[in-house]
């Protein structure tokens, strides 16, 4: 098994774990955490695709590195926005429980 295959399998596991969190948890902040776990999985997938072996040394492609850096920045923006919306939901309902919301059905 190649190194990148192991990493890619790991990234798929992370994505599955994140999707499980989003589907099963009832707490708004936990759903945001699940979203972040999925993002990490996708970043790891990009990293696994960027692995190159040059003269026996494992290096990472420059494009993959810049993609991951920008992707992390985008994910931070999304997490900040999601948490601010969650805070506003808390101000409306006094709870973070999505079962108490009126229309949030997937």
């Amino acid at each position: 098994m190649n190194l990148y295959e192991i990493y890619f399998a790991g990234s798929l596991l992370l994505i599955a774990a994140g999707l499980y969190i989003i589907a099963s948890k009832r707490h708004l902040v936990k759903i945001v955490i699940g979203l972040e776990v999925v993002t990490l999985g996708v970043n790891l997938a990009i990293a696994s695709m960027g692995i190159r072996i040059m003269d026996g040394v494992i290096v990472m492609d420059a494009l993959a590195q810049s993609m991951i850096a920008i992707s992390i920045a985008v994910a931070a923006a999304i997490a900040a926005l999601a948490l601010s919306i969650a805070l506003n939901i808390y101000r409306h309902y006094g709870t973070f429980d999505i079962r108490k919301l009126r229309r949030l059905r997937w």
Binding site: I15, A45, I46, L63, S71, L81, A82, R102, L104, W106
Partner: protein, 518 residues
């Protein structure tokens, strides 16, 4: 014109409004931000229209050395055509916002004192977010590699999440914003995973390099990345299994933003799907056409049935947006099917794609017009229930007349251009009479169009001609203010103008299609 110029104008204007916002607040002239927004969007629109009229050749700029790793932007007729639609509707929504948003943040009755205080902070960042939303959409059409496309995609997506949740004093907006954020981000991440696999396959993300590697046919990994990219962009385009955020998010946004979201933001999903399917992967090597036709049929049938049951006019219009996406996707699916099964009939496939692209314009005009007119009713009556709006027509004649033109355009009543786009798709679908799949799809398409025409006309009849159910009717209701009426009349004139000048528009679409099918 440089492809970067448009994006720099819009993002620069967004930064200027953010910096000058405190000054405008101090001198109590918040409308000035709106004026800056309108000037930026108008100059963008003029630059783009000039390029379209001159017939500028395709261009490309590369940031840094010309290697497969650097980011680059392109400008061809397809991006010009779509960018004109995006910035045009954006300009109309910006003009409309200057009056409407003041009403939304100041005059709408509100019970809770805490939220009244929050609301008094005003239109912070509204125009900046509007500008970055349009800049992101235009950037998506101008990207020349998958990662630039992803970055502009997220710029557009983050702006639209915050705009949907903009009215944070209403529970509806924050809930819909959260739901939209989670679902749409998952979609973008699916697309990013597909892009990552594509990068692993080809070592580059530039469209030309990726096309060389995967166009002729590919392995399982290429097919996996195609499926992930289609799912990812399909969430934003609101294709039916991934549509459930749309009927919540679009009505919850402020009305001008609903017009932009429903009119053009979902079309960026269509553009990204069209580009990756026809230009990068190619319908010949990958047999996605039956799935695409099936999704299109499912989308329009489901949405048309759901739309009939709505009592909220904005929700009704949101469902009808999903149905129109179904028409466009069916048109693309028919084109892909023709290209794969009958390689000699390229003209027929071009006919279906012309219909799909013309419908992008028609739906943007018609849906923008309907949402903006709905905003005028909300301003005067403060209700979105169709029952309470019944019989308002004689009190607001100009608004209702423009709404009528928009609805007739959406319904596809013959002289208007909405009819021609549907006719193009139907005639392409009937081009090969022996093909059962195409015939069945076309018949379902026609049935859906007739059903949709029925409910649009029924809605118009209820609003314009029925006797009001309320006691005393709408006696005190006045016509909408002039600043809000102007965009309506311009859009209504544009509907008629596109119908009269159908030939130049079709020529523009032809040259856009040459980019895709070349």
């Amino acid at each position: 014109m440089d492809p970067l110029a448009v994006i720099l104008i819009l993002v620069g204007a967004a930064i200027v409004t953010v910096i000058l916002d405190p000054v405008f607040k101090r001198i109590r002239m918040i409308e000035l931000s709106g004026v800056i927004t309108c000037i930026a969007l108008l100059s963008t629109l003029i630059l783009l229209v000039l390029d379209a009229v001159v017939g500028a050749p395709p261009r490309m700029i590369i940031f840094g050395p010309d290697s497969p790793l650097t980011a680059s932007l392109k400008l061809d007729m397809l991006s010009i055509y779509l960018s004109i639609i995006f910035s045009g509707l954006g300009l109309m929504a910006a003009i409309y916002s200057m009056k409407y948003m003041l009403f939304e943040v100041e005059h709408l009755p509100l019970d809770d004192l805490f939220w009244v205080k929050v609301r008094e902070l005003g239109l912070d960042r509204y125009y900046a977010l509007l500008l970055t939303l349009i800049a992101g959409m235009i950037g998506v059409t101008m990207a020349n590699d998958f990662f630039t496309l992803y970055v502009f995609w997220e710029l557009m997506a983050i702006s639209s999440y915050s705009l949907v949740a903009f009215r944070k004093w209403s529970w509806e907006a924050v809930e819909a914003g959260f739901k939209y954020l989670i679902m749409s981000t998952l979609g973008s991440l699916a697309a990013l995973l597909g892009i990552a696999v594509l990068y692993g396959l080809t070592g580059s993300l530039r469209f030309d390099a990726v096309r060389v590697a995967v166009f002729g046919g590919g392995n399982m990994a290429a097919a996996f990345s195609l499926v992930m990219i289609l799912i990812g962009f399909g969430v934003t385009a609101a294709i039916v299994p991934f549509h459930s955020w749309l009927p919540d998010a679009h009505p919850a946004a402020p009305t001008p933003i609903s017009a932009i979201l429903s009119g053009v933001v979902i079309k960026t999903g269509i553009y990204a799907m069209l580009w990756s399917m026809f230009k990068i992967f190619g319908p010949v090597a990958y047999g996605f056409s039956p799935a695409l036709i099936g999704l299109g049929i499912l989308t329009m049938s489901f949405a048309n049935i759901a739309a009939i049951m709505q009592t909220d006019i904005k929700r009704f219009l949101a469902y009808s947006s999903i149905a129109n996406i179904g028409y466009i996707v069916t048109g693309m699916g028919l084109a892909a099917h023709i290209l794969r099964t009958y390689p000699s009939e390229v003209g027929l496939a071009a006919l279906a794609l012309t219909g799909a692209l013309l419908h992008v314009l028609n739906h943007a005009l018609g849906k923008g017009l309907s949402f903006l007119s709905t905003g005028c009713y909300i301003l005067r009556i403060n209700s979105r229930e169709i029952e309470k709006l019944e019989g308002i027509g004689p009190r607001m004649p100009a608004t209702t007349a423009s709404l009528g033109i928009g609805l007739l355009n959406l319904a596809g009543v013959p002289p208007l251009s909405g009819f021609w786009s549907k006719l193009l798709i139907v005639s392409a679908g009937l081009g090969v009479p022996s093909d059962g799949l195409m015939l069945a799809a076309t018949i379902i398409f026609i049935v859906n169009c007739i059903m949709a025409a029925g409910y649009y006309l029924w809605l118009f009849q209820r609003l314009a001609f029925r006797r009001p159910m309320l006691d005393g009717g709408h006696k005190e209701v006045m016509e909408a203010p002039a600043l809000m009426l102007t965009p309506l009349l311009v859009l209504a004139a544009a509907c008629i103008l596109v119908t009269i000048m159908l030939n130049p528009v079709l020529q523009l679409i032809q040259s856009a299609l040459e980019v895709i099918l070349r």
